[in-house]
């Protein structure tokens, strides 16, 4: 009896889970980056592969438990003993693994191995407890150098710019929101001023940690305008859950207006 119940319970769990995944009850948001489809595709591939293993595993388990309860069966091992199992594991799982790694490496490479477009628009990102700040080079196209000792959030000097002496820094535009023109390659440089943080933009399919002491480049191209969230996914302290910024992907003209407005407020 217990066996039958177990089988039914396991079967139900399997069906419900499978339904939730197939019906996308909870699923990835719209994808707005050029490399995104590769990652989505990879996730779907994996859902398929892993899903089949999951269902097969649970179903066989349930079936055997269902069939072989009680003392009435003649004891015997499966034909061929463990060999077929091992062969199966090596062949099937092995091939799946190899396949996944190969396709997966393409998707991964698309994000990390392709050199950024030299024409990319460069934006500096400074993460700190518990906010992101973004820096545009301004008209001269040069970023001012950073002086950690000058960082003072009370005076809104989030990057530690020496605007009094550093010509390059004078026209740098520092904003609390990441606005970018649509369909333009973007090259972000991530640096953290205090502890570890992360840059997670679901719609861009990008997650990259900030590591204090390192400048980490991230490049992407957004394909849709709109306003999206960038959140922190690396535990950074009490305000972790509150650490976020908005990403607005704008039409080129809107972007220019926005940048002009920001420049006027510096």
């Amino acid at each position: 009896m217990a066996g039958k119940i177990f089988a039914v319970v396991v079967a139900l769990i399997t069906i419900v889970t499978a339904y939730c995944v197939i019906a996308h009850v909870w699923w990835m948001p719209v994808d707005i980056s050029v490399h995104g489809p590769k990652i989505d595709h990879q996730i779907e591939e994996t859902v398929l592969v892993a899903g089949l293993l999951f269902i097969a595993g649970q179903v066989v388990l349930a079936a055997f438990v269902f069939l072989y309860g009680g003392a009435r069966n003649r004891i015997k091992q499966i034909p061929g003993g463990a060999k077929p199992l091992i062969v199966f594991a090596f062949l099937l799982v092995g091939t799946e693994i190899v396949a996944l790694s190969f396709i997966g490496s393409k998707a991964w490479g698309a994000v990390y191995f392709e050199a950024p477009d030299p024409a990319s628009m460069r934006v500096d990102v400074q993460a700190g407890q518990f906010a992101y700040y973004f820096r545009y080079p301004g008209p001269d196209g040069k970023f001012g150098s950073l002086h950690p000792d000058l960082i003072n959030e009370g005076n809104q000097n989030y990057f530690g710019l020496d605007t009094d002496h550093d010509a390059d820094a004078k026209d740098d535009i520092v904003t609390a929101e990441l606005a970018i023109p649509v369909n333009k390659p973007i090259l972000l440089t991530l640096h953290s001023k205090d502890v570890g943080h992360s840059f997670y933009a679901r719609e861009l399919r990008i997650q990259q940690d900030f590591v204090p002491g390192l400048n980490i480049p991230v490049h992407f191209t957004a394909t849709q305008t709109g306003r999206f969230e960038i959140v922190c996914t690396q535990l950074c302290g009490l305000g972790h859950y509150n650490m976020k910024a908005y990403l607005s992907v704008l039409s080129p003209s809107d972007f220019d207006d926005w940048l002009r407005k920001q420049a006027s407020m510096q």
């Binding site: 319970v9 994996t46 388990l61 463990a82 594991a89 980490i216």
Partner: protein, 604 residues
């Protein structure tokens, strides 16, 4: 040659020199007095029970913490008076602050991972059962064994002490990533003395685990009785033996890591703290360290750690199943053991898959991804062995087996998540989402807990000489099994929507729609926790009121069932044990004790 002479000496000692024999008898006599017997006892059985008791306390503490966290996630404005009483600053008026949520989270992870999942299956059951299963009278180094427990307990007390210091426990998570964990109180509440105590607690735990592992290895190799060749070792002992090796190597790395962290915090070194950090507008004095170094060192321990947690579960389940399905596992001891060895070995070369998005070289990410995926092969082999051993079995659905089956189901479900997290490309979306939380709760958390519970129901009669209540046991299983899936499968699914973990409240626009799902998980988690009190009641009640247990209630074949329940001080009452068979001599109702000269009945 050594063995021969030793035997001769003993022979002489016993036969010809009555003085020595008498002396021997005296030495063999159990220690007198409550303290020596139950508190500072060198008896591996008492120590095993002490470990299990500590873990039982720890698991309920950890569970209470998770309750508080879940309630806060679903109802951020909830006032929990008890919390307000426990920490007036952390939860003024019972309303949890974000920092206190993170503190609870940190301690939940620390207590569960170390003092429950590492301590109970290996140190707890291992201590009680392993020496008996190999036919020894005690561990190889009984005093060392006692000290490992007491050092562990000191570690546990230090961990709990963090709740009672002004700033409360640290908030940097059980992974204690530097520099958040290294720069001190400027990084936030709890990062002062809370983090220091945490570090010391882990140092204690490392030392204890290393001593324990050493003891297990020597005991298994050295104290096996006549005829107990390696192939005849029970699979649980194999699990503990392999596990001991893994923890011997892994904790040996965590120990220096924690020491360096403590140096950074207290001595001003800069192993993990880079130059030019500005925290709260204060320029930090440190220079030159690397946060990634900490991550490498931590995960070099951290990944084997999850296998340290799961390997004894493998062993226990592989040991319990044949008893209740009345047939040997497919492939006998070899296949499953091979799988365990492979998993244990591979676990040392995959740590980088925790660091795909950490700024580590993307090439390294792919290098680490491949062995990570390949570790699924031995895992799949193990699962196939468990599942296909059920083919044409005579399954007896006693509680230990139900929990073993639950383990298999959970391990399958959890293992599947591994496919997503082992690939950099998919992990870069799912990393640090609740998908990960669901994944490791299935694989290392609840799989291990289910195996531990299976072992608990299975060995309880041997440990306390009384049977547990079967009905309550079954109720406990069914509720736990279903509720576990309700909680953690939902976590997997919401992970696809990018639900970020370690958030003390769901405030982001895309997180708000997930609040209903979180309410569901919270309710399920509360029920799941409540269910465990059935188990607690069952255990305590049966301990004193349960029906007396026979020596071998489950028709099992291994040595622990060939002695009284509970076993005498020297485990076999001075009998000389000789082993003639492997541990899986089952054929339907028929079975042959390892110690019986009768001929084998097992087909394979």
């Amino acid at each position: 040659m050594f063995a021969a002479t030793a035997e001769k000496n003993i022979f002489l000692g016993v036969k010809i020199m009555p003085a020595t024999a008498a002396q021997a008898a005296v030495h063999h006599a159990p220690p007198q007095g409550f303290i020596r017997k139950y508190i500072f006892s060198v008896d591996h059985k008492v120590i095993g029970i002490q470990y299990l008791t500590m873990s039982l306390v720890a698991v309920f503490v950890g569970m209470a913490l998770s309750w508080a966290m879940r309630i806060h996630l679903a109802w951020p404005d909830a006032h929990i008076p008890l919390l307000g009483w426990l920490s007036p600053s952390g939860a003024p008026g019972g309303l949890m602050t974000p920092e206190y949520y993170l503190s609870l989270m940190t301690m939940h992870g620390t207590i569960m991972a170390f003092f429950v999942l590492t301590a109970a299956p290996l140190a707890g059951f291992g201590n009680f059962i392993l020496p008996i299963q190999v036919g020894a009278a005690d561990m190889a180094f009984p005093r060392l064994n006692m000290s490992s427990f007491w050092v562990t307990l000191v570690g546990f007390i230090l961990a709990c002490a963090t709740f009672f210091i002004p700033d409360g426990p640290p908030l940097s998570g059980w992974t204690a990533y530097a520099p958040l964990s290294a720069v001190g109180s400027v990084a936030g509440p709890g990062q002062g003395w809370g983090q220091n105590l945490w570090g010391l607690s882990i140092v204690c735990f490392c030392i204890a685990s290393l001593l324990g592992a050493l003891n297990f290895i020597v005991t298994t190799l050295d104290l096996r009785t006549k005829g107990m060749t390696l192939p005849r070792l029970p699979l649980s002992t194999w699990g503990w033996f392999i596990d001991a090796w893994v923890s011997l190597l892994a904790f040996a790395v965590l120990l220096p890591t924690c020491l360096l962290l403590v140096l950074d915090r207290l001595a001003g070194t800069s192993f993990f703290i880079p130059s030019g950090l500005v925290i709260n507008d204060q320029l930090q004095p440190h220079s030159g360290g690397s946060p990634l170094l900490f991550q490498h060192l931590f995960w070099f321990f951290g990944h084997p750690e999850v296998y340290i947690i799961i390997l004894p579960a493998f062993g226990i389940v592989s040991h319990i199943m044949p008893t209740f399905i009345r047939k040997p596992l497919v492939g006998g001891w070899k296949v499953i053991t091979f799988a365990e060895v492979a998993v244990g070995t591979l676990s040392f070369v995959v740590w980088g898959h925790h660091m795909f998005v950490s700024g580590m070289s993307p090439f390294m990410a792919m290098v680490f991804s491949v062995p990570t995926l390949f570790i699924t092969i031995p895992s799949v082999i193990a699962v196939l062995v468990w599942v296909f051993s059920l083919y044409h079995a005579n399954i007896r659905f006693d509680t230990p087996l139900l929990f073993s089956l639950g383990f298999v189901s959970l391990f399958i479900s959890g293992g599947i998540g591994g496919f997503f997290l082992a690939q950099p490309s998919t992990d870069s979306y799912l990393h640090a989402t609740s998908f990960v939380v669901g994944h490791f709760h299935f694989t290392m958390g609840l799989s291990a807990i289910f195996a531990t519970l299976a072992g608990f129901y299975y060995w309880f009669p041997k440990m306390f000489g009384r049977m547990m209540n079967e009905k309550l046991g079954k109720v406990h299983f069914w509720l736990s099994f279903v509720l576990v899936y309700c909680v953690f499968m939902t976590m997997h699914l919401t992970g696809f929507a990018g639900a970020v973990r370690r958030y003390s409240a769901l405030v982001d626009d895309f997180m708000v729609p997930l609040i209903p799902a979180n309410k569901f998980m919270t309710i399920a988690a509360l029920l799941l926790g409540a269910t465990q009190f059935i188990f607690l009641f069952n255990a305590i009640w049966s301990r004193f009121k349960g029906p007396k247990a026979p020596n071998n209630p489950w028709d099992a074949t291994t040595l622990e069932w060939d002695t009284t329940s509970p076993p005498p001080f020297d485990n076999f009452g001075g009998r000389q044990i000789t082993v003639y068979h492997g541990p899986m001599e089952y054929d339907g109702e028929a079975s042959v004790m390892q110690t019986s000269p009768a001929e084998s009945v097992a087909g394979t």
